[in-house]
């Protein structure tokens, strides 16, 4: 099988100012094989992929492509030899159509002009070949849902017919249905001999799709193994280098009667056109109220409306029994509400500001002496949260854009914790975050609830939702389709409500 080797990574090392991010990495990528790379955020996965994609250059080591040594100076060169990458972040241009986005940079030409007919045909072929439903070549990308955009991103990478395809968290924004589509695509590509590099934090998914698994920790290659020789627990242990069981076992369900009966938040018949309709629920003091559903079910829109970021058309919100008018997040903050939004980069982060400013931005009122912000108070406040949430940063003046996703998320969470909220809305709080940081965030969420804070938790990761929530409200197509009590907890049950089906195919494909 010597000739099935496609790319060999030999002794690759890379440093950024002050840190060695990759240290002597050796991996073989073979044709027709899915090779998963596991590691916590900051372990060096993204750096490795960026080196393979020609975006960074390694200081030491070689890349052997089809038996020949290559050096890649740009993503364009990587694409030329057959390496393609699906980015974690959306790189599509919203105003252009699906076909324009897919073929941007390598348009089919007819002389000097773009061959529109061929462009449309090629795109339609690709979409149908990959069985991507409900997307037409002419649809403007801005009209697509987050999940559909991600699929277009994948199709775009495939349009180059790569020999090696790298996927960085390809399912982060996908629902079960689209994940299923993606798994089919991956299967098809492998049969055709494409090598796939797969990075994901979703362990179940990795273990479903991968043939080989390489674990990185702190820039060092821990191990490469065949999937059949390792299980999830072992992989997680290798990734974090410590036992997560302790942290997870403290996550045992709380007895329902231990939760106060005091209703803190009540929502009555809340509606917003085309987003959600007639939503009613109550949340009690110290309760973790989970919100399940498919992406696009209207959960985020509901929360943003409650929080005053978006309008509502009708309905009422009551806090501690009193009707309130929340017209802006500023109002919401006065009622002791807090929201940690879903798309961290778009709605949560100030990438160019420091870690400290990102933590303090909602709390400067408390950090003032007279009219002016007190340097000592603000430094102490930021450092307190850096320590408490174990945010890994060299100092609080560091630009937050340079931190890993998990640490950014903890800083955004700190921002709201510092306002001492009574109701905390968490929208996909562990989206794109590594296992270790996830466990830490779970611990924080439970502690906050124990302290009497009411938590509304949106999560598309069912194990997480089931583990943390005291009750789960399931939404489907903008409506509440079910309220599930702990005794009825199961992934199938949630999915049944989420999809509005009795017996769901989706729950099956999730289990697989």
């Amino acid at each position: 099988m010597e000739n099935s080797e496609l790319l060999r990574v030999e002794h690759i090392s890379k440093s950024f100012p002050g840190v060695k991010v990759l240290n002597d990495i050796n991996i073989n990528f073979r044709k027709g094989e899915v090779h998963a790379i596991l590691g916590e955020n900051g372990a060096g996965k993204s750096t490795l992929m960026n080196i393979l994609f020609g975006y960074y250059r390694a200081e030491e080591g070689d890349l052997i492509w089809e038996g020949k040594k290559v050096s890649l100076h740009s993503p364009l060169e990587a694409q030329h030899i057959g390496i393609s990458m699906i980015h974690q972040e959306n790189s599509l241009i919203p105003y252009l159509s699906v076909m324009d986005n897919i073929y941007l940079g390598h348009y089919p030409k007819n002389g000097a002009f773009i061959d529109k007919r061929k462009l449309r045909e090629n795109t339609a072929d690709l979409l149908s070949e990959l069985e991507v439903p409900d997307i037409g070549p002419d649809t403007p990308v801005e009209k697509l849902s987050v999940a559909q955009k991600q699929l277009v991103e994948i199709v775009k990478a495939l349009s180059l017919k790569p020999k090696l395809l790298m996927m960085d968290e390809p399912t982060a924004a996908l629902t079960a249905k689209e994940t299923h589509t993606l798994m089919n695509i991956i299967g098809k590509l492998c049969r055709e001999g494409t090598a796939i590099v797969y990075v994901s934090h979703r362990m179940e998914e990795v273990f479903e799709v991968a043939d080989k698994i390489t674990v990185l920790r702190d820039g060092i290659m821990i191990k490469t193994v065949d999937k059949v020789n390792i299980d999830i627990d072992e992989a997680v242990r290798l990734m974090v280098g410590r036992d997560l069981e302790n942290q997870m076992s403290s996550m045992k369900k709380r007895a329902p009667e231990s939760i106060s009966s005091e209703v803190v938040l009540e929502v009555r018949g809340l509606s917003r056109k085309k987003k959600f309709e007639d939503i009613s629920f109550v949340a009690r003091k110290g309760e973790i109220l989970g919100f399940g559903g498919l992406v696009g079910a209207g959960r985020s829109e509901l929360m943003e409306s409650i929080f005053g970021f978006d309008k509502t058309d009708s309905g009422e919100v009551l806090i501690k029994g009193r009707p309130v008018q929340i017209k802006s997040p500023w109002d919401a903050a006065r009622y002791k509400l807090a929201l940690v939004p879903e798309e961290r980069k778009v709605k949560g982060l100030f990438p160019d500001l420091s870690v400290g400013d990102n933590i303090n931005i909602a709390s400067y009122k408390k950090l003032k002496k007279g009219k002016l912000i007190d340097k000592k108070l603000e430094t102490e406040a930021a450092q307190r949260y850096v320590e408490k949430l174990n945010i890994k940063t060299t100092n609080i003046k560091k630009r937050i854009g340079d931190l890993s996703g998990g640490n950014q998320q903890k800083a955004v969470l700190s921002r709201w914790l510092q306002t001492e909220p009574e109701i905390l809305i968490l929208d996909e709080p562990t989206h794109g975050i590594d296992v270790g940081a996830k466990a830490e965030i779970y611990g924080i969420i439970r502690d906050l609830a124990d302290q009497g804070i009411t938590i509304l938790l949106i999560s598309s990761e069912l194990p997480e939702l089931l583990m943390l929530s005291d009750r789960i409200i399931v939404m489907s197509m903008g409506r509440v389709s079910g309220i599930v009590e702990p005794q009825d907890y199961s992934e199938e049950n949630i999915m049944m409500y989420a999809t509005g089906q009795k017996k769901s195919n989706l729950s099956e494909c999730l289990k697989k």
Binding site: F307, F309, S328, P329, W330, A332, A333, L339, P341, V346, K347, G348, L349, F350, P351, D352, L353, D357, N360, I361, A362, Y364, K365, K368, K371, L372, I373, T379, E380, A381, Q383, R384, Y385, V386, E387, K388, T394, N395, I396, K397, K398, R399, D402, R415, L417, Q418, T419, E420, G443, I444, D447, L448, Q451
Partner: protein, 324 residues
Amino acid sequence: MWNFTTGTEAVPSSIKKTGKKTFNELGILIVLAALCVFIGLFNPVFFTATNAINVLRQISVMGIIAVGEAFVIITSGIDLSVGSFISLGGVSCAALIVAGVNPWLGLVLALALGAGLGFASGLCVVKLKLNPFITTLAMLNIVKGISYLISGGLPIDFDNPVAVLGGTVGPIPVPVILMFIIIVVGHIVLTKTEFGRNIFAVGGNEKAAKLSGIRVDRIKFAVYAIIGVLAAFAGIITAGNLNSADTAAGSGMELDVIAASVIGGCSLSGGQGSIVGVLIGAGILGVIRNGFVLLMVSNYWQMITIGLVIIAACAFDMFRRSKQ
């Protein structure tokens, strides 16, 4: 146990080190110093106190308004209308005083007019969601028109107590003193107050700012009103200096002010900038103008040089940022 409500526990020593502060303005400060040395070598007159005061007086109007422009640019906006506000400030104040209003009340009313029209720009940007570039381009015309309506196109005498703002205290011109006061206040507001931090947040990520409970609308109203006041004030100072309020005053000043801000490190995409940088930026423009006169180089070369400096400053800034 993890507890976030206590506010007073000791900060762990492991993270006490806050890192060294990088002085972002160092690059342009070096440029300014190099310019001074170069010009001084060829004409020693440059280093005389009289000339230094002269340079400062020439940049005072620009410097005052650039503080406001920095605020606007950091919110990722821009204000192209300041030239007309200079004109309006002088003309409206003069007209009020000529009409018999108490001079100091006239000053206050003219400033209020500047604030009101600046606020109107903010209103268009926030409520009509117009692009700031377009809004203030329109406002440039509107305000100029108002200014002409008031003056009828003729200069108005500005011989009143308010004219001291354009005068001197001993050898020091009052506009220079006012510029430094406004710069110091502007610097403190931008770096040490909640309002200032919010300006950076709005420019850095407007959605995140709103979701963080910042009243983004108010911040925007405020920065456009502030630059309106500052430009009107600069207009009154100009009128005081010339003892005459001329509708043509301030024409083209918006470009100088934006140039000073950009040379000073304000990012046109928002979220970055400093008042110290803006002062240095204004200084560079002033020194180039002054130096070219001293070196008897054609005015045309001066324009070309300023253009090149703007490009160099922005290129340097991009280089510095790509290094981060």
